[in-house]
Symmetry: C2
Subunit: 200 residues, 2 copies
């Protein structure tokens, strides 16, 4: 058990992006740190026997409307990406490659990747785009490229996804506060209250 | 377009029950009235190609935990019913039977039915139980029983469910505020802000 707020997310999850823009302020309000944990949602989807939201009749249309409205509600810049969903292997591996040496830099990179995709419509499924964004953050392109393709980093991402599954992460975003599970960007309000009240 | 907040719900939906306990205070805060619209979620589920939450791996377990925690968060009495889910034909028909003459009484009955099921573990799939609860509210048992079984009332419920489908109601609870759709008990917070700000 850690007193960090654990933040599991998938890089192509719009609600995950919205949560990424809200979670730090909530954590800071309660003197908590966060631990960001990108993982591959596809495996969770398969285990929980469902498909991406946008593929369901009724739900797909509603959720697109809700995502854009939630972004405006929380005043978070958001533009629907032209390519959606995408593979986020390169983005998630880049996160763990940087995190091996510098967790703060990894989180900064994750935020930059999320913004690139959900604000600036940059295709972060493309390894070259991920490397360019990392270079903009001051990371060495060649070293990161090698690291992303290395077996230990591939394995690191598999472990993170396995951990999500083992801990019953049901979707993205999914947070743990002192072991208590919260699913969805809207549950950040409950986390805020949970930390305020010391649970309930 | 109506300035009433339209509240679509299914009587066996736990999040619908939680919303029913919250929506009146939020409406009153903004000098709005509500229009309760029970419907049959099964048809919406089928159209949107999904199953009840509790049947999905990962999601089922999480949602049971979340529902109980949400109830405590909003300080709403809640006890998981021993029989779940149930057919809510009798409950929903009873609502429309009463509503034909008295909308306020129908809403009071709906609240009593929801509480009977989600607080007192009474099986409201049973017509006799529904009639007993209605009698506790001062309704004439024999007249209501005949009405529930009448073709116009059966038709009225079909129309309500058809209307939900036509208006792209994706689940329960589902609210419309001046035509704007909101899905989920947590979206009542957004409705509160929507009415406060006049949209966004």
């Amino acid at each position: 058990m850690t007193d960090r707020i654990e933040f599991f997310f998938e890089f192509s999850s719009p609600y995950g992006y919205l949560a990424s823009e809200r979670i730090e302020a909530i954590a800071a309000r309660h003197q908590r740190e966060t631990l960001w944990r990108p993982y591959l949602l596809g495996i969770i989807m398969k285990t929980s026997e469902r498909r991406p939201l946008y593929t369901y009749p009724l739900i797909g249309e509603y959720s697109a409307h809700d995502i854009a409205r939630c972004a405006r509600y929380w005043r978070i810049p958001f533009a629907e990406p032209s390519k959606f969903p995408i593979s986020t292997l390169a983005a998630a591996r880049a996160y763990y490659a940087i995190e091996a040496n510098d967790q703060v830099a990894a989180q900064t990179l994750a935020q930059a990747l999320y913004r690139a995709y959900f604000r600036d419509d940059r295709d972060i499924s493309d390894t070259d785009t991920v490397l360019t964004i990392a270079a903009e953050q001051g990371h060495q392109r060649a070293g990161l490229e090698a690291s992303i393709q290395s077996e230990p980093i591939k394995q690191r991402l598999r472990e993170a996804t396995d951990e999500a599954l083992a801990r019953k992460v049901a979707g993205s975003p999914f947070m743990f506060v002192d072991g208590e599970p919260f699913w969805g960007c809207d549950r950040l309000d409950h986390i805020d209250a949970w930390l305020e009240r010391g649970g309930w």
